[in-house]
Symmetry: C2
Subunit: 207 residues, 2 copies
């Protein structure tokens, strides 16, 4: 995935959600959850932000949790797509890892509101939905773990603890969503490049 | 700071807060904010968790924001203490960095509820309190930045972007508070050791 490709979704956030009223409500829900937290937001707040009535909201979403689930599901699907595209894009394990980290970071920087909701409100999901989302996270973990294992096999990487390093790499990228807006002196592209270099150092033997 | 020393505060969380009623209310507030978010929590909820009346709460805290400010202030003071103790503890820049990272990680793992409130609810502070907390963060950043600069000077470290790497190191440690409880297959000590090793790799020249 190139920087040009992964900006497409920026032009029309949540473009995959139809009809337009359902998309507007989702955008409003992300804003409200990111600003005030899931538990402090009512469906009335969300409808109001979208310029609709609570009754209009219920046509598209039966509960507030259904909105959170849609947001989490789409967010995690996108995150997995971004990582998989980088991993399957060919090249050496170093190239695949650099691409995975930089594109994952760009996504968390650009979509920081969505990422915060997706990452911080997982406990508010129903048990069934939480299980589904945890399974998607396992698949994201597996993509990175496989790149690390491939690099260890080719001898490019020196990674004594593959699961622990996988966790650290993903955690480093995810936390970009927390700080990005606050100290935004760098572009998503610049953070992506810096982090790809730092992660390659993490998995390499020290001089 | 040794592992033994930094568990002291675990025996009596918020031991610095007196009288006992004020301490109990702070503990209840951390629990409630971590579970439901700041905006979804009322002072009535907090008083109820502490087994007190709302009137008893107002003797100690005039507003909900005052509780958040106390939590954020103490949390950030502790974080700065942990980092400064490691930095001032002597040894080479590598030893100081390893100690700073492992003790900071242990703190975020053990006190993950507090750390989440402190890190995620900063926008809910009043402007005056927010400015005060941002200044404490700048001082934490400065401690890590100085260790990195010292290591670059002695030639132990190879860090092309000191401010960016400082940001990444602290971010990696802070995000432990997000995932620690969920996937807790490792002890705070084990995560601290793993992360110290990964961070030393980040600041070293690649083989």
């Amino acid at each position: 995935m190139t920087a040009a490709q992964d900006t497409t979704s920026e032009d029309m956030p949540w473009g995959e959600v139809a009809p337009e009223a359902a998309r507007k409500l989702l955008v409003a829900a992300v804003e409200a959850f990111a600003e005030r937290g899931y538990h402090a937001t009512t469906t009335r707040d969300i409808a109001g932000r979208a310029g609709m009535s609570p009754a209009a909201l219920y046509i598209h979403y039966k509960t507030k949790e259904e909105l959170l689930h849609r947001i989490s599901r789409i967010g995690h699907d996108r995150a997995l797509e971004v990582l998989s595209a980088a991993s399957d894009g060919g090249g050496t394990p170093s190239e695949r890892l650099a691409e995975a980290v930089s594109s994952f970071v760009r996504w968390h920087a650009r979509r920081h509101d969505t990422a915060r909701v997706v990452q911080y409100e997982i406990d508010a999901l129903s048990e069934e939905h939480r299980t589904e989302i945890v399974e998607l996270r396992r698949r994201s973990d597996a993509v990175v773990r496989e790149i690390l294992r491939d690099g260890v096999e080719t001898g490019e990487f020196d990674v004594p603890d593959v699961p622990g390093t996988t966790l650290a790499v993903l955690s480093l990228c995810i936390d970009v969503a927390r700080w990005f807006n606050v100290r935004g002196h760098r572009t998503p592209e610049e953070v992506g490049e810096l982090y790809a270099d730092l992660v390659l150092r993490m998995v390499s033997a020290r001089a």
